[in-house]
Structure formats: structure tokens, C-alpha cells
């Protein structure tokens, strides 16, 4: 752990390579749809790490999916503030009924996966959810209908 001499070319090669892990996992998830064993093997090979190590890291973070998901992953914020606004639970109930699935499940057409997540830092505009990489807030049932209908058509 002794401080190393400043030299751009001689940045510690191994740690720097491994530091690509999170980005590489995102890329693999994008390419394979989820982090299957094949996807994780790909990442492990790229970074010269073991499959176990790669799996262990991926499993730590909630944005990596180790199981197949639908085309759209709906993540409803169930943080304290969304709960206080009386929004989170009602929203989850509404989505369960609308999609006919439980939290953690995917619709039979493979379109939507329903998840709950922790505080999305959108407390001033709660209730909030993310669909894939997009934040939707100030949600009402009507607004959810519009968003989902649009995605279902697309």
C-alpha cells in the first residue's frame, strides 16, 4: 500500500483494469439482456478475473439482474417519503393489478418486470418510479396508464 510515484503510464495496471468492472457488467447486461452465466463469463474473461469473483461483485449491486427480465423494468420507489405521500403502496398495488403480476415477476409477453426499489432521491416529486433508465415522478394512476400504454404499443 505504499504510495507510488506519479507516472501516468505506470498507473497501477491491475486495479485500473478491474475498475472497469461495473461498466463492463452494465455493457454485458445490455448485450445479453441480463447477467446470465454466459454474460458473466464474458466479463470475467475481459477483465482476467474468475467467474466467481465476477458473480460475487455483480450480485452485490441491485441494478444488475442475475435473472431474465422483461423488456421494461419498472422500479417503484418504496422509500419513506413515497410511502408518506400515500403513493408507493397504492402505486405498487395499481401496477400489480394492471400488469397481473407480483413484485419480482415479469408479464407473460415479456414486456414488463415489476420491482420495488429504495429512495430514488425524487422525494419532492413523489411518488416516483424508474422504467429502464428513465425517471418518472409526480405519478398518478392516469399518468402511469399513459406511460405504460405508450411502452406497450412501442
Amino acid at each position: 500500500m505504499s504510495p507510488q510515484t506519479l507516472d501516468k503510464e505506470l498507473q497501477p495496471a491491475e486495479p485500473a483494469r478491474r475498475s472497469k468492472m461495473l461498466d463492463t457488467l452494465y455493457a454485458a447486461q445490455e448485450q445479453y439482456g441480463y447477467l446470465s452465466e454466459e454474460a458473466l463469463r464474458h466479463v470475467a474473461d475481459q477483465l482476467s478475473l474468475s467467474l466467481q469473483d465476477t458473480f460475487s461483485t455483480a450480485s452485490f449491486y441491485s441494478l444488475y439482474h442475475l435473472k431474465p427480465t422483461g423488456q421494461y423494468v419498472i422500479q417503484v420507489c418504496e422509500g419513506l417519503v413515497c410511502f408518506l405521500g400515500d403513493g408507493a403502496e397504492r402505486l405498487v398495488d395499481y401496477l400489480r393489478k394492471k400488469l397481473g403480476i407480483e413484485v419480482g415477476e415479469t408479464t407473460s409477453d415479456g414486456k414488463f418486470t415489476l420491482e420495488t426499489v429504495q429512495c430514488l432521491a425524487a422525494c419532492e416529486t413523489s411518488p416516483a418510479m424508474r422504467i429502464n433508465d428513465e425517471l418518472h415522478d409526480n405519478l398518478t394512476e392516469a399518468k402511469v396508464d399513459t406511460i405504460l400504454d405508450q411502452l406497450a404499443r412501442g
Binding site: P12, L25, F60, V81, F83, C119, S126
Partner: protein, 419 residues
């Protein structure tokens, strides 16, 4: 109060570097790099009294001064944009609205701390924030504010965005560094502290987004100006994120030391629907909750501990009389159980035990002795966990039992909610 950190919010396209520069942006970086030595900046920030805005409130200048000064040592800067403390949405606000202000602060911090490489660690969920950072960084390179020989000086700095992937604990500084290194985000044992051995084992400065946003203003307007805002021991402007049962939730930039009463009733429009206040969390869910009798406590690092709480991130969560405290605490307990990284036993087991007991009480299956058991778990976790997440998890449970024990007892006895 005059707006400082949020002064550019609402100016069209201020996210663009040309618009930011037209507002006086990057004057502070210019002054710092061209006119001041790193040690002079460190002394300036020390004198300003700036304390970290990420929750712990450590004196920023002192942290900067802990960095080794030997030019041969590789040093890093980490910008902590892993804003995950429930109720907190100030860093997201700063980055989405005025990213260059934070980047300018980061350039100055890197120069003061001797870092030539900086990592912006963002929450993986913050898609827009990531976009803002990447654009701001690219623009700064084009304008010669990043890269080699910045502004014609010998100072060089490279900055890149490192996207996290959903883990609250990565906001803890050493867990964040593990994550940047591509590992599981589990906290490290301290010491060594990051300024001794941080990222890749090298001395590393780590600052919160809001902390860095304060820096350009201190450089331009002086330490004395900054230090005259606030209280005796908590200096400067602060973004207070107000949410929950208020008429106007949002970010309010106000001086340190303002009272909870002023924040809630004068700025956030009072309690929703004119209802009565029941409880308020002053600084994110990791800080103990307070009750209406505490409304006149100044929001400052030194004053909140006197009433049994902490300033934390300054995220004020308001709960009105219709709130079931047990259910609210259950939601917070679920969060901590989910986010406990599992590295140390008291936190891993304690958070899940508390969750199970609270679920039981909420479901009408509470037992005599549950309250004592909860308090016993709190006692066993306090100070015995690897990182502050354990202590944070205790806060809602212990403070709610202290103030609302009757509600817990009612739940257990009557198998239903008091409200």
C-alpha cells in the same frame, strides 16, 4: 438570504459551459490556479469553516490538509455523488441544474489536494445526473479547464464518471473506493483513512457534491464572507431538502442555523392540509426523529445533538398526525436491512432482526417484550458496526421508541394502529 449555491438555478441552459462562464463561472478556478498556492487554498477553506455536506460534517479544510504534500505521490480525488440517504435530493438538484459549479469546485479541490486524477462516483439510478456530468466534463476539456496544463499552469487533471450500480452503502467513503476499484462495495477498516491510503491504496481526497459547490464561492468571495453566514460552529449556506407532509416540498437554500419551524412553516408552506405536525426527521432517515417541541432548534451541527439528533444531510422529512409511526419506522428498517452490506455481523443480523420484529408489530403479531428487544438490538449495534450504516439503522427505531413508545404499546396490545 441571497442565493449562493442555487443562484444559477433557473437560468436557461446554464448547464452549458458558455452560459455558466457568462454568469461568472470558472473565475474561482482561474483565481485559484493562477493566484493561489494549494496551501493558501487549504488555509482559506479551513478559515471559512466549511464542513462536509454529505452527512458527517467533517471540516473540509482539515481534510484537505491531511493530504500528503509530496509531489511524487500519486493522489486522487473522489467526488461523492452517491446520494442515497432517504429524503435527500440536493446533490441531484445541484448536478442537474448547475453541473459546472460542482466541477469547478472539484478542480479547485484537486489542485489543493494535489490530485491529478478525479473520479465522479454517481448513483447508477441518476441517468440525467450522469448525462450532465459527462457533458460538463467534455466541455471543460474543450475549454482547457481539464486535461494537461490547465489555464497554462503546470496543473493537470483528468476526470471521469464512475457509475455505481445500486448500493446505498457505497456513499460511505471507503465502500465507494472499493466500488470504483470494481469490487463489492464493502467498507474498509479505518485507519488508514482515505487521505493516507484510499483509492488504489493511494492518498485520496473525497468530498460530497454540495461541499464542492461551496468551494468556488469561498475562493471568490473569501473565507470571512462564508464564515459570517450561519452559526458559531456551522458556517455557510445549506440546501435543505424538505419532503413529506408539507405544502411545498423542495430544496430550500438557507443559512445554517435556521430553525426547523422556519423551514417547515415559512418556506415549505406548513403542514399539508393544515394538519398538525407529529414528527420530523431533520437530516435524512439516519438522523433520529424529533417532535413539535423541538421546532425551534437551529439546524446546525452543534445544536441538533443537544436535542438528541444530528444535522446529517439536512433532509427534513415531515410527518403529520395521520402518520403511523410504527409503519413509517418499518419502511426505514426495511431500507437498512436491504442496504446492509453484510460484511459485519451486528449490522447484518441486527437490521434484519429489527425488521422482523417491526413487521410482526405492524401485522398485529407483536408480543410483550418486543420493544425491549428492539432497544436491546439498538444497544448492541451502536458503535459496534464496521461503518456508520449500523448506527444509522438504529436512529429511526430508537428515536421513535423514545418519543412514541405509547404507539408501539398500543400496536402490540390492540393489534392495530393508533391513527
Amino acid at each position: 438570504m441571497e442565493k449562493v449555491l442555487s443562484k444559477n438555478v433557473g437560468i436557461p441552459h446554464v448547464q452549458r459551459i458558455d452560459v455558466y462562464i457568462a454568469q461568472g463561472g470558472y473565475q474561482a478556478a482561474r483565481k485559484a490556479l493562477l493566484e493561489l498556492k494549494p496551501q493558501e487554498l487549504i488555509e482559506m477553506v479551513k478559515k471559512s469553516g466549511l464542513q462536509g455536506r454529505g452527512g458527517a460534517g467533517f471540516p473540509t479544510g482539515l481534510k484537505w490538509d491531511f493530504m500528503p504534500k509530496d509531489p511524487d505521490i500519486t493522489r486522487y480525488l473522489c467526488i461523492n455523488f452517491d446520494e442515497g440517504e432517504p429524503g435527500t435530493f440536493k446533490d441531484r438538484y445541484l448536478v442537474e441544474n448547475d453541473p459546472h459549479q460542482v466541477l469547478e469546485g472539484a478542480i479547485i479541490a484537486a489542485y489543493a489536494g494535489g490530485a491529478r486524477r478525479a473520479y465522479v462516483y454517481t448513483r447508477g439510478e441518476f441517468s440525467l445526473g450522469i448525462e450532465r456530468w459527462e457533458k460538463a466534463i467534455a466541455e471543460a476539456y474543450e475549454h482547457g479547464l481539464l486535461g494537461d496544463d490547465i489555464l497554462g499552469t503546470e496543473f493537470s487533471l483528468d476526470v471521469s464518471v464512475h457509475r455505481g450500480a445500486g448500493a446505498y452503502v457505497c456513499g460511505e467513503e471507503t465502500a465507494l473506493m472499493e466500488s470504483v476499484e470494481g469490487k463489492r462495495g464493502e467498507p474498509r477498516l479505518k485507519p488508514p483513512f482515505p487521505t493516507q491510503a484510499g483509492l488504489f491504496g493511494q492518498p485520496t481526497l473525497i468530498n460530497n457534491v454540495e461541499t464542492l459547490a461551496c468551494v468556488p464561492h469561498i475562493v471568490l468571495r473569501g473565507a470571512e464572507w462564508f464564515a459570517q453566514i450561519g452559526t458559531e460552529k456551522s458556517k455557510g449556506p445549506k440546501l435543505f431538502c424538505v419532503s413529506g407532509h408539507v405544502e411545498k416540498p423542495g430544496n430550500y437554500e438557507l443559512p445554517m442555523g435556521i430553525t426547523l419551524r422556519e423551514i417547515i412553516y415559512e418556506h415549505a408552506g406548513g403542514i399539508k392540509g393544515g394538519r398538525k405536525l407529529k414528527a420530523v426527521i431533520p437530516g435524512g432517515t439516519s438522523t433520529p426523529m424529533l417532535t413539535p417541541e423541538h421546532l425551534d432548534v437551529p439546524m446546525a451541527f452543534e445544536t441538533l445533538p443537544k436535542v438528541g439528533s444530528m444535522l446529517g444531510t439536512g433532509a427534513v422529512i415531515v410527518m403529520d398526525e395521520t402518520t403511523c409511526i410504527v409503519n413509517a419506522v418499518l419502511h426505514m428498517a426495511r431500507f437498512y436491512a436491504h442496504e446492509s452490506c453484510g460484511k459485519c455481523v451486528p449490522c447484518r443480523i441486527g437490521t434484519h432482526m429489527m425488521l422482523k420484529i417491526l413487521e410482526g408489530i405492524e401485522a398485529g403479531e407483536g408480543k410483550d417484550g418486543d420493544i425491549e428487544l428492539l432497544l436491546g438490538i439498538c444497544e448492541n449495534m451502536l458503535g459496534n458496526t464496521f461503518c456508520p450504516l449500523g448506527d444509522a439503522a438504529i436512529s429511526p427505531v430508537a428515536s421513535s421508541i423514545k418519543h412514541f413508545r405509547d404507539e408501539y404499546e398500543y400496536h402490540i396490545r390492540e393489534r392495530k394502529c393508533l391513527v
